[in-house]
């Protein structure tokens, strides 16, 4: 009996330990995509693992961007954080300043490096951030699944009503009016819908000619133009009654807008280029896309995420994470990722490749976001950025549209709070 036990234990030990020499280095990668984009991500992780034997990446879905961010911060405390994850740009200055992120300079320029000059300039870390006159931070974020908001329209609906694709705020307003269908008190079809959300507000703020902060980043400076942006929504929703405000917070509202568009309950929406593949596959009508309409100028924020490495991870795992990041941003992968989702390819050679050029010819919608990059606006590289986004702007926009506060009140309070936060970080 005892001998038998020894044999069983011995076998178990062998099974657990395995042949040591051929073991790949395993590293964790946390991502924030559900649904279709999750499948695409998982498929690419699998392909990476099959493409070589030195590293193995284990991907885990961790909820939306902000849920994942909470988990990352909690995991960093307990030293259980993954080697690699991806994160929205607005959260980066904070994470970098707290010392959580690994500089990628050495990796990118080392023996297993990548061609940094081949990245699409508007999509890189340097293209995303305005360093506010200070010295730029070293490379710590590599673009992965980058987007801009675009105007989606139901081409059949617009054609039936003889409506032209709007290029200015005024045209958008007129078009929304023509597309709205009412039956008594009921609105059957809304002309326009957009989540009352930070990202779209940031676009409108810049279209109105404003910016979030002063050029040196020492003061918030969005009050006047931010109010103009917010008031545009308030007028469309409450005065014209041609815009639907999708209910729910954060991405719940985005999903409502997408669903309404597909179900033809709305003629035009703003949302991320990331949903292009999903819309095209699910819509039973011709989906058109265009630049966001302009006011004082044409302007658009960029969004999506960046790959980062966590400083606290063991070195071999960080190397595995880097190998994965490098591979995922190679032209071949960035092309297939883009085609499968609608996110932009991040490499110039990918954009200019015959494969992508002929794809754009057949699917012009996919090129809109890329072309729109020429009007892209940067975000201030300020540790206050994330708090301003999440605590000062995002939760307070809704009150104006629902009529419990005026846009002027909201922006006055918001600017004051933003200045307090900037002051706190400056200390």
């Amino acid at each position: 009996m005892r001998r038998m036990l020894a044999v069983v234990l011995g076998l178990m030990w062998v099974a657990c330990a395995g042949p040591a020499a051929a073991d790949p280095i395993v590293a964790q990668f946390w991502y924030s995509f559900g649904g279709k984009n999750r499948e695409v991500t998982e498929a690419h992780i699998k392909k990476f693992n099959e493409s070589q034997s030195k590293y193995r990446i284990e991907g885990t879905f961790q909820g939306d961007y902000f849920q994942a961010l909470a988990k990352i911060r909690a995991a960093a405390i307990t030293k259980t954080a993954p080697a690699a994850f991806h994160v929205v740009g607005e959260a980066l200055p904070n994470l970098w300043q707290a010392g959580l992120l690994e500089s990628m300079e050495e990796y990118a320029k080392g023996p297993n490096g990548t061609d940094l000059a081949d990245f699409v300039p508007g999509l890189t870390q340097a293209g995303y951030f305005d360093y506010l006159g200070k010295k730029p931070a070293p490379l710590f974020a590599v673009p992965f699944f980058r987007s801009t908001p675009i105007l989606y329209y139901n081409a059949d609906m617009l054609a039936a009503k003889g409506v032209k694709v709007p290029t200015t705020w005024d045209e958008l307003r007129a078009a929304a009016g023509k597309l709205t269908v009412r039956e008594g008190d009921d609105t059957k079809v809304y002309g326009f819908e957009v989540p009352v959300d930070w990202w779209f507000w940031y676009g409108l703020l810049h279209q109105a000619g404003g910016s979030l902060m002063t050029a040196d980043g020492k003061k918030a400076a969005f009050r006047e133009k931010g109010q103009e942006a917010l008031q545009f929504w308030v007028d469309l929703v409450n005065r014209d009654k041609t815009m639907k405000q999708p209910p729910g917070k954060d991405y719940s509202a985005w999903e409502v807008a997408n669903t309404d568009f597909i179900n033809q309950r709305v003629g035009m929406i703003f949302t991320s280029t990331a949903f292009l593949n999903y819309m095209t596959e699910n819509a039973k009508f011709k989906v058109g896309t265009a630049f966001l309409p302009a006011k004082a100028k044409a302007a658009v924020p960029t969004g999506g995420t960046y790959f980062v490495l966590l400083k606290d991870a063991p070195t071999p795992q960080k190397e595995a994470g880097w190998a994965f990041i490098k591979w995922m941003t190679e032209p071949e992968q960035t092309i297939s990722l883009s085609k499968a989702t609608g996110y932009m390819p991040v490499r110039l050679s990918a954009v200019n490749s015959p494969a992508m050029q002929s794809f754009y010819k057949d699917n012009p919608n996919y090129k809109v976001a890329l072309d729109q990059l020429k009007t892209a606006q940067r975000f201030p590289f300020s540790p206050a950025l994330f708090d301003i986004q999440r605590e000062v702007i995002q939760p307070n926009l809704e009150a104006a549209v629902l009529g419990t506060k005026t846009s002027a009140e909201i922006m006055a309070t918001a600017e004051q709070k933003a200045n307090e936060i900037i002051g706190k970080h400056d200390k």
Binding site: A70, R73, A74, A76, P247, K249, R390, L402, T404
Partner: protein
């Protein structure tokens, strides 16, 4: 000899409760104590904690937090009153041994065991103001659709209704047990004295159910105070902050805004509130409850 034996028994007793006591301490007492500790710091989970004394508590003394308290009281009060009233009514209706009653009891109780997430998602779809089932039903009978989750003055009450729908099986079952524990003799005696339906309820059923009612008030209050899932799925505290109830507020402060200190201060206050509420209910009801017959 006897003393030695008693001591041995005591040790055995401690040894037996030890494991669960240790677990209780680890997953319950320790976190509570740690929250109290964190509540005097400013902490964002990234940069080192900074001692701020009672500043977090002072910051909570704000109209914003007051609104959270009012929301929580309305939600909790609404749920307790409605669930108790409807639960008792249903229990009185279904308190017989017919097959129909048994079937209905099972149906009503089923929603209690379904996950909060599933129930919340289901109701989000049913209550959609443009094409939800409820909206469709209202239109059929010629009523104007209600913006159940999108209107700041309605949303909290919508959550109350959904919560009552979800939890009604619980007071129903407990009340049924309470009703069946009342000896039949009382009703026979009352019938001899000529007591009618309402009088029998007022002077026999209701007083003898008071321990059951106390138990339900305490458990339903605590459970509804801890409501979270339904808010997370259905409204995320919105529109604006109209459905921001206590636990969701803590979650938002901690894991959306990363103000761990402020969130912990709110946890400490919450702990005190629930303790106080339980004591108060116990004191008030102790005098009025008839435990034995």
């Amino acid at each position: 000899m006897a003393a030695r034996r008693a001591r041995r028994d005591a040790w055995l007793g401690y040894a037996l409760v030890g494991p669960s006591l240790a677990l209780f301490g680890l997953v319950y007492l320790y976190p509570v104590a740690y929250s109290a500790y964190v509540s005097v710091f400013e902490w964002d989970l990234m940069t080192p904690k900074r001692y701020v004394g009672l500043a977090n508590y002072r910051e909570l003394w704000s109209p914003e937090f007051g609104e959270v308290l009012v929301n929580t009281a309305c939600y909790s009060g609404g749920v307790v009153v409605l669930a108790l009233g409807l639960g008792l009514a249903l229990a009185l209706l279904l308190n017989d041994r017919s097959r129909l009653s048994a079937g209905l009891q099972a149906c009503i109780f089923s929603s209690y065991i379904v996950s909060w997430v599933a129930v919340s998602l289901l109701w989000v779809w049913m209550l959609d103001p443009q094409y939800g089932l409820v909206t469709y039903g209202l239109r059929l009978v010629g009523l104007r659709p209600v913006n159940w989750l999108g209107s700041p003055s309605v949303a909290l009450w919508t959550l109350v209704l959904v919560t009552v729908w979800k939890t009604i099986g619980y007071p129903l079952v407990i009340y049924l047990a309470g009703l069946q524990a009342i000896p039949g003799d009382f009703y026979e005696a009352a019938a001899l004295d000529g007591a009618t339906g309402w009088k029998r309820f007022r002077f026999i059923t209701w007083p003898l159910l008071s321990p059951t009612t106390l138990f339900l008030v305490v458990t339903l209050t605590i459970a509804s105070f801890q409501g979270f899932d339904i808010v997370k799925i259905m409204t995320q505290g919105g529109p604006i902050t109209s459905t921001m109830i206590y636990v969701y507020y803590i979650y938002e402060q901690a894991f959306q805004y990363f103000r761990l200190g402020r969130a912990s201060a709110a946890v400490v206050i919450f702990f005190g509130l629930i303790l106080l509420l339980t004591l108060l209910q116990w004191l008030v009801f102790r005098k009025r409850v008839q435990y034995s017959t």
